[in-house]
Symmetry: C2
């Protein structure tokens, strides 16, 4: 059965999943790269920007990489919020924006971009972006169809993840708590009081100082 | 040199150190006992309510207890907020309230209770409560004097801890993150953006699901 999975969602100790002031230059706002610093040295990340045959031995292979490596395993489609696709708001005035990822995005699968504003489907490398205005359950139904029996990844940002958690559609949630106090930005946990009652929780501290939380939805 | 230490300060994943609706019956508000559930089975806690000679073998002796046991080591005085002493607000209309702890409180040392409202010193068992209206630095100076060369514990609640952290007076901060989403209450981290820059941080996950954070202030 297709599962909806969230991976590598980094939050600060005070629960912010992104900083204040997101822009083209600063996709995480004032948090800059600090929420993902644990991720950059991993073999999984290093491999994304290298040819596969030379990247196997590069980067770290510890617990942070073990979690990072699970991200793409068995994924057939992704759902993301518009803010993950780009910093623009409102109608698409300039369709030359093709995402942050250059000509070969790391998805290699259909990606549903949730947006109120119409735009034609966009093929970039092996990835097809479908711009759709859909409530969570319908977005998941479409993504499940596109995933062809594999799982669906919910790629963020935090507002989208929160909406799917509120709708109780998430099966697997991997949150990485980074030991910094951001003070402002977008909170992940707001509106999710009692979330832990719906999930089993496993906790692993990494020597790098981050803590990996795996929430697995209880069988219903 | 006397250090100011915070121990066993439990917060939810979303950063609340106490719930909403604190009262005589519910000192943690709607959080009830959930923030301290990791603490109750420890030998340290069990010993507090038993005769010492029979309590040594009782309770757990794992990592949660190792941290809990550090609480009283080398402490000569405590500073606490009025809300830790009791649920009352405003002038002391009824001085029959002698704290939550019965006739032998677990402090066995002077305790400064920060309050805007005058009340005479109060001796309960081996503990003397001194009710004082003092800003953080002056409260620490008095507590240091009373501690006689030992350390001072900052006993909470969260609002008081936050004030002392803002004033950069805390040397050792032990925070326990409990894997629950409380949704409302008193936040610990508000106003402390960038706190991690002043501290070394060590992280330990417990098999019970809580995570122990030890913040040690960098030498200045």
């Amino acid at each position: 059965m297709t599962k909806l999975r969230v991976h590598n969602l980094a939050v600060s100790l005070d629960g912010f999943a992104t900083g204040e002031g997101q822009s083209l230059e600063t996709p995480f706002g004032h948090a800059e790269g600090r929420l993902m610093r644990w991720f950059f040295p991993t073999n999984t990340f290093v491999s994304m920007s290298s040819h596969e045959d030379e990247a196997v031995g590069m980067g770290t292979h510890g617990v942070d990489d073990a979690f990072a490596a699970a991200t793409n395993r068995g994924i057939g489609a992704e759902i993301m919020g518009r803010r993950k696709f780009g910093p623009q708001v409102g109608p698409w005035e300039d369709e030359s924006w093709r995402g942050w990822w250059g000509e070969e995005p790391p998805f290699h699968s259909p990606v549903i971009v949730l947006t109120h504003h119409h735009r034609p489907d966009l093929v970039v490398g092996e990835t097809t972006f479908l711009f759709r205005e859909l409530p969570p359950a319908k977005a998941l139904a479409l993504a499940t169809e596109l995933a062809g029996g594999l799982d669906v990844r919910l790629g963020g940002g935090p507002t989208v993840v929160r909406e799917f958690l509120e709708a109780d559609l998430v099966d697997h949630l991997h949150v990485v708590v980074v030991p910094i106090v951001l003070g402002r930005g977008v909170r992940l946990w707001d509106g999710l009081e009692g979330l832990e009652q719906r999930f089993e929780v496993e906790v692993t501290a990494s020597p790098t100082g981050v803590v990996h939380y795996v929430f697995t939805r209880k069988t219903r």
